[in-house]
């Protein structure tokens, strides 16, 4: 399997570290750590795989084969993976998928329940002078935002709880984005 081969390459590259390592070997290993981390985050590979590799590296460290910067990097990658597990993470700096239907695994037990989520366009710019004169309280910045909401939905009952199953999504008015 590909992941076994990848893991094997990573561990073997770590074990080769020692005196006289070239910069390219360190750079390649660091690149591989970053690349592996992004693939895990994007494709949501099982956490067990990550933990298995992590403890392999820990064991290698105990034998003195891995230098501390590599271990710090792996720990950072691990923390990033944990952070990615939280559903409310801001995806604006990690890539943005379009507003579309996605399965809500929490409610999809007897039948699939879909939820609208994704990215929509928004912008903030200096308020034009002409518009500012019409404001009761002049504001220097105008913010235009659209949010991913359901265009159509129907009500169903899941375990006695009434929920709405979304059937179509679009980027429209945000009603709850103000503080």
């Amino acid at each position: 399997m590909g992941w076994i081969r990848l893991e094997g390459l990573t561990v073997s590259s770590v074990q080769r570290h020692g005196e006289g390592d070239t910069f390219s070997q360190h750079g390649n290993t660091l690149s591989l750590y970053f690349c592996f981390n992004f693939i895990v985050l994007y494709f949501h590979l099982p956490l067990s795989l990550y933990l298995f590799l992590y403890f392999q590296i820990i064991a290698t460290t105990a034998m003195g084969s891995l230098k501390s910067p590599g271990l710090s990097l792996l720990l950072l990658s691990f923390l990033l993976y944990i952070a990615d597990s939280y559903p409310n993470i801001d995806l604006s700096n990690m890539g943005c998928e379009e507003c579309t239907l996605r399965k809500n695994n929490l409610f999809s037990r007897d039948r699939p329940v879909y939820q609208c989520m994704g990215c929509c366009f928004s912008r903030a710019y200096p308020t034009p002078l002409r518009a500012m004169k019409t404001m009761n309280i002049p504001k220097n910045i105008t913010s235009e935002a659209t949010c991913c909401v359901a265009r159509h939905s129907y009500e169903i009952e899941i375990a006695g709880i009434k929920v709405r199953n979304h059937t179509d999504c679009h980027c429209s008015t945000c009603y709850f984005h103000k503080i």
Binding site: L6, S24, Q25, N28, L32, C35, F36, F38, I39, Y42, D90, S92, N93, G95, C96, E97, E98, C99, F107, V113, Q115, C116, M117, G118, C119, C120, F121, S122, R123, A124, Y125, P126, T127, P128, L129, R130, A131, K139, N140, I141, T142, S143, E144, A145, T146, C147, C148, E155, K162, V163, R164, H166, C169, T173, C174, Y175, F176, H177, K178, I179
Partner: protein, 146 residues
């Protein structure tokens, strides 16, 4: 080893999403005062892009509790000042405008920002001759007209 690293990055780049995110973007601001002779075009930076949002399956019951709604807005902002050409002193030729240093996806702050769905862009049209002003070299916070 190098081949493995290259293949790994190539695999990541092929499948990573390519939607532009919330970033500072160059923007031309048009300022026209009735008392002034010209419509002044000022180059600035605004926040524009895509932000993640999510609708709730239980909005009827729980309201906005599990909603995620954010807009691309200013994170760090700097205010620059420009002197509008062709304006009499009594018309206050000094004009202050925001410049985005960084942006982020966040809720709209009603105390400082005008939160709109789609604002009218009529205020950006000029009815007078357009004059451009540029930042004075070495003075990022002070703009001198031409």
């Amino acid at each position: 080893m190098e081949a493995t690293v290259f293949n790994c990055w190539l695999f990541f780049l092929m499948f990573s999403p390519a939607v532009p995110m919330c970033l500072p973007t160059d923007f031309t601001l048009y300022v026209e005062k009735p008392e002034c002779e010209f419509c002044v075009a000022i180059n600035t930076t605004i926040c524009m892009g895509f932000c993640y949002s999510r609708d709730s399956n239980m909005r009827d019951i729980l309201g906005p509790r599990f909603l995620v709604q954010r807009g691309c807005t200013y994170d760090k902002v700097e205010y620059h000042t420009a002197i509008l050409p062709g304006c009499p002193i009594e018309a206050n030729p000094v004009f202050t405008y925001p410049v985005a240093l960084s942006c982020h996806c966040s809720a709209c702050r009603t105390d400082t920002d005008e939160c709109a769905h789609r604002a009218s862009m009529d205020g950006t049209k000029c009815t007078k001759p357009v004059r451009r002003i540029y930042p004075y070299p070495g003075h990022s916070n002070y703009v001198i007209p031409f």
